[in-house]
Each structure stands twice: as C-alpha cells, then as structure tokens.
C-alpha cells in the first residue's frame, strides 16, 4: 500500500470543516472541555452565515469570557461586571440598524447584573443575550454561583449548597420568559454533537429575530465547568446531563407566534 503523506490529506477537496472566518486565530484560553469555545464558534458561524460582520456590535462580560473580544472578529465592547445589557441597550437604541448581542455568564447575568438583565428584557430591548450557565464562578476559581445546584459543592460552599443558609439557585431564564418584553427565550446545551446542532439553530433564530424589533431574544446555554467542578471533561458532561439538565430542562420557554 502506497504511503499517504499529511500534505496529500490536507487539500481543499478533503476539507469537511473550517473555522468560521469570524473567529480570529488567537488561541482560546478556555480549559480543554469547556463549552465556551463551542458557544463562541456557533455565534461566529451564525454571524458569518447571515453576513452580519459589518453590522455586529458585541458586549463581553466579566467572567471567563471576559476576553471574548480577542476571539471574535467583530467590533466589541468590554462591560463592567453585570452591566452588559445596559451597554447593549444604549448601543441598539443609538444604532437600531445594527445587530447587538451580549454574552454573559451566570454570575454576571444572574447575580451582580440581575437588575440590568430583568429591566433590559422587560423593556423589550431589541438585543440578543447569550447566557452561559455552568453553575459556578469559573474565572475566580470555582465559587458558588446564583445557579449552583442545591447540595452542589463549590469553593465557597465546600460542603455543598445548603439552600436554607445560602439561598436557592435562580432560574432567571424562566423569569425572563414571563416578561412581556422578551420575544424568544430558549434553553440549550452544547455537551453532545446533537445538542450543539440544536443550540446553533436556536442562536440563529435569536440573531435573525432581532431584525423583527419585537423584543429581547434570550438563549441560555447550560454548560460545564470541568475545572470548577473538578471533573474530567467527559465526567463533567455526564454530570451535566444527570444533574444540571433535570433542574434546568432544555427546550424553548417562549417562542414567537408565527
């Protein structure tokens, strides 16, 4: 059998996948196995497919994805912790023809930024919010998040979250769905190839719907934090399926009437 070299394999006709041109060449700083990279990639692909690069203004949060602007080849602003929806509100109102998104983790969106989240969605700001929920503070080293599950361990609840002492996890996406200003609210995950495909469809809708000017589009992505959870990536995905998804069930919470 003839020897096949790598150069022979790496040919345009053999390509089955390429990175979106909306993703820069900067190496992601995320831990191996983390869902952030996948979520970034899906959003980048949707922006590319809908030809929105020149119209996009994104807002990065404080948290693990604070450096998101290094990875996306679009104009971006870095917000103070929790304030991304306030920035996005002004951007969209001052430039209504642009596509404006925020990308926020659970601490950013559902703890320190709860007021901005609720009020932007309640005003029905025509923005798209991507909410990454991994039930923990990743960047600061695994502290309890507003979405940490009951009895789940984190560095500031080392014996598990005692809801009588530490309060209950906040299902903020469910609250957002009840607000008259929200237009499309869905909960997805990126822990299996099938879920990645579904999440991409949801993100695409949340981006496309912004043009309708009918209110806030909100996509929660239940994700893992294998470093914060102190698990291997594979174990983290299994734990996500067995523990996170029963508490945060996947699917649409609010869909536009067609």
């Amino acid at each position: 059998m003839a020897e096949i070299t790598l150069d022979q394999i790496i040919q345009p006709e053999n390509l089955v996948y390429t990175k979106s041109r909306i993703m820069t060449d900067t190496v992601l700083h995320y831990c191996p196995g983390c869902g952030h990279g996948t979520a970034h990639r899906l959003l980048a692909e949707v922006i590319e497919e809908l030809d929105l690069q020149a119209d996009t203004i994104g807002v990065a949060p404080v948290g693990c994805s604070v450096l998101m602007y290094n990875y996306m080849d679009v104009d971006m602003q870095e917000a103070a912790h929790g304030r991304a929806p306030a920035l996005a509100t002004a951007i969209k109102r001052l430039m209504p023809e642009k596509f404006v998104f925020t990308y926020q983790g659970d601490g950013d969106l559902a703890a320190i930024g709860t007021a901005e989240t609720i009020h932007a969605c309640n005003r029905g700001e025509n923005i798209t919010i991507l909410f990454i929920n991994n039930g923990i503070y990743g960047m600061t080293g695994g502290q309890m998040a507003p979405t940490t599950l009951p009895d789940m361990k984190a560095s500031t609840c080392p014996y598990g979250r005692d809801v009588r002492m530490m309060g209950n996890p906040l299902k903020i996406t469910d609250i957002v769905a009840t607000l008259p200003g929200s237009y499309y609210v869905t909960r997805q995950s990126v822990h299996t190839p099938g879920n990645v495909r579904k999440a991409k469809k949801a993100i695409r809708k949340a981006v496309e719907y912004q043009k309708r000017n009918q209110g806030t589009c909100f996509v929660e992505i239940v994700s893992n934090c294998n470093s914060g959870w102190k698990m291997t990536p594979a174990d983290a995905n299994q734990w996500l399926e067995e523990n996170m998804l029963p508490f945060y069930p996947l699917g649409d919470l609010k869909v536009p009437e067609e």
Binding site: Y69, V74, D75, Q77, L87, T89, A90, R93, L94, K98
Partner: protein, 355 residues
C-alpha cells in the same frame, strides 16, 4: 444674540443638550436634578433632533448606558445628584479607562449618605481627585449661573471629544433649581461622523474596534497609564479656566466657585465698602485647577480665604498652589446651608486680616 429665556439651571442643561446635538441622555430621577430628564421628555427630543432619552432602572444602568453609547462614538450624557453620582463611580472609572468621551452633570446636594436635598459643594474631592478606582481624571467645570449651565454643556462635549475623556459639570442644588435669564446658543445638528475608534460594525477596510479598560499585561497596562498621564498633563497645560473679579488692586483674595462665588461677589462689595481691598478668584475648571494662576497672586495679596459649601476641600488645592508663601484659610457651611456675605467678610477679617 441668541434666544433669551427664563429657565431653571436644570432645564438649561436639558435644552443645551438638545441644542448641542447630543445623541443620547440616560438618567435616573434624584432631587435636586430631576428637571433635566423631565424637561427632555417633555420636549420630545426624538422628534426635534432624533436624540434618544431613556429613564434607566438605576444610576448604575444609566452610567453603563453612557459607556455603551460613548463607545459607539456618540455624544451621550447623564445627570444626577451626589448619592447617584456615587453609585456611578465604577462606571466613570471604566469610561475613563476606556478613554470614552461623555458628559456627566452632578447637581450636588449635601452629604454624606442620603444627606439632604439642599445645595452643597461637598463632592469636590470626588470630582477632582478620582472618585472611582485607578489613576484617572475628570475635566471638571464649575458653573456659577444658569447661563453657564447651558454654555458648559456645549463646552463639556467639545472637551470630552477633544481629549476622549469624561467631563463633569459640578453644579449644585441652588444653580440647578434657580431661575435666571439665559441666552441659548444656536442649535448644532447631530453629528453623522463615524469615528475611527468607535464600535460601529467592523467593515472590510479596517480592523475590528475593541473598547475595553482591561489589559492583563503589566507592562502594557503601565504604558497605557503613562499615556493617560501624558494626556492629563496636556489638559493641565491647555484647559485651565478661571475668572478674576476686582483682583487688580486686591490686598486679600477670596477663592470660590459655583454658588459660593456668587455669595463671595457680594462679600467683595461689602468688604470694599468697609475699605478692605479684596478680590475674587473664581476657578471655572476645578480640574485642571488654576494652580499657577493662584500662585501668581501670592506676590500681590497677603492672604487667601477659600469659601466653600463643604468642610474645606478646595482649600487643600489652594494650599498646594501657594506653596506656603502666604496664609490660606477656609470658611464654609455644610448640610445644605449657604453662607451669607456678612459671615464671609467677618471670617476674612478674623481668619486672614486679623489672623
């Protein structure tokens, strides 16, 4: 001559914002400055000029809306009063750190805490020394009349965009609430210019624009700070503004800004009627502070009395300016009380002339 109107200081700020071609105002109600947003909403600026006016859910949201709008290169502003401005400090630091132009109006009331709704000048330190975290400066303009409330909106936006730096109008509850004749400047159309650094959508002809105050590399972060300091040095060199009233033959000097300077103007008349040759030096920019110009007075006057509606804040900058060459003292009232001209002259006699 421009259009003449009888207006409250707060209303003059709002009218001037529309006329200055502001793109957006984001605010939250607080006494004694709520008339700014009330006037704007009543004027329907979205119909007059297309200006966006939004009542935010908090001062936190308002200042971050200002950040978002300013980062798009838009002419945006907010106004508030002392407790609300305190709540905005984090956002102001981020705005300074991201080098964004915007206008902030503080119609100061007495503090600390919830304090009072009466006028005060006790936010001087907060405005000129930082307020939020990090080494940054706000260009701080101190109006002493309703006319200046209007004029400084236009000037403030010009300075903000010239230096890509936040500008604060440090007013007080008296100037915000009182009515005076004001000559309004002619309206300027809203700018359609797309600024090269602003986030307006990445077009193929340029790299993406990123607005951030974050840089985790210590060397780059220090270099950025040095660049900021250089800019502040340039502002200190070029943008000092002040007014001297009856200073030519003065043997003593009052230094006062805003409402206090109006009281002191009366005090100057009163003192001169009693044979005391005293003048008023009114800083218009509190930062950059007119240090050189005050130092220049030390060869002429024997002593300086700083008159403030605070426990004595600006007096520290005056002392730094005169470098110990002449006597400097302070007189002021707090808690929303405005000093009287009589009190001021009495204190000049007691603390400076007789002291």
């Amino acid at each position: 001559m421009g259009e003449l109107r009888l207006m409250k200081g707060n209303e003059a700020v709002a009218e001037a914002a529309i006329r200055a071609g502001a793109d957006g105002y984001f605010g939250y109600p607080i006494t004694p400055q709520s008339e700014v947003m009330e006037y704007l909403m009543a004027e329907k600026p979205h119909e007059r000029t297309g200006m966006v006016v939004l009542q935010a859910e908090s001062e936190l949201a308002a200042i971050n809306m200002v950040y978002g709008g300013a980062a798009c290169g838009k002419k945006v502003m907010t106004s508030s009063s002392s407790p609300g401005i305190s709540l905005m400090q984090e956002g102001i630091s981020y705005i300074a750190g991201a080098e964004l132009p915007c206008l902030l109006v503080n119609v100061v009331r007495g503090g600390p805490g919830l304090g009072t709704i009466q006028p005060a000048q006790s936010d001087y330190f907060q405005a000129v020394k930082g307020g939020g975290h990090g080494d940054y400066r706000l260009i701080t303009l101190a109006p002493a009349s309703v006319q200046e409330m209007s004029d400084f909106v236009k000037l403030g936006f010009e300075l903000a965009f010239k230096y890509r730096n936040p500008v604060m109008i440090l007013s007080d509850g008296a100037i915000g609430q009182m009515m005076e004749k004001v000559e309004l400047f002619d309206p300027v159309p809203r700018s359609k210019e797309i600024l090269p650094w602003a986030t307006t959508g990445k077009t193929p002809d340029r790299e993406r624009n990123i607005i951030t105050s974050l840089d985790l590399d210590p060397k780059r972060q220090e270099d950025f700070n040095l660049k900021l300091q250089k800019k502040y040095g340039e502002i200190e060199e070029k943008e000092v503004r002040y007014e001297k009233i009856q200073c030519d033959d003065a043997e003593y000097l009052f230094v006062a800004y805003g409402t206090s300077s109006r009281v002191v103007q009366k005090a100057v008349q009163l003192a001169r009627s009693r044979g005391i040759k005293v003048g008023l030096f009114r800083p218009i920019t509190l930062w950059p502070f007119p240090s050189k110009e005050i130092f220049a007075m030390t060869g002429q006057v024997k002593g300086i009395l700083s008159v403030e509606m605070s426990a004595g804040q600006m007096v520290e900058d005056i002392r730094l300016a005169v470098k110990g060459k002449i006597k400097v003292d302070y007189y002021g009232r707090m808690g929303g009380i405005i000093p009287t001209p009589d009190e001021v002259v009495e204190m000049l006699e007691k603390k400076i002339i007789g002291g």
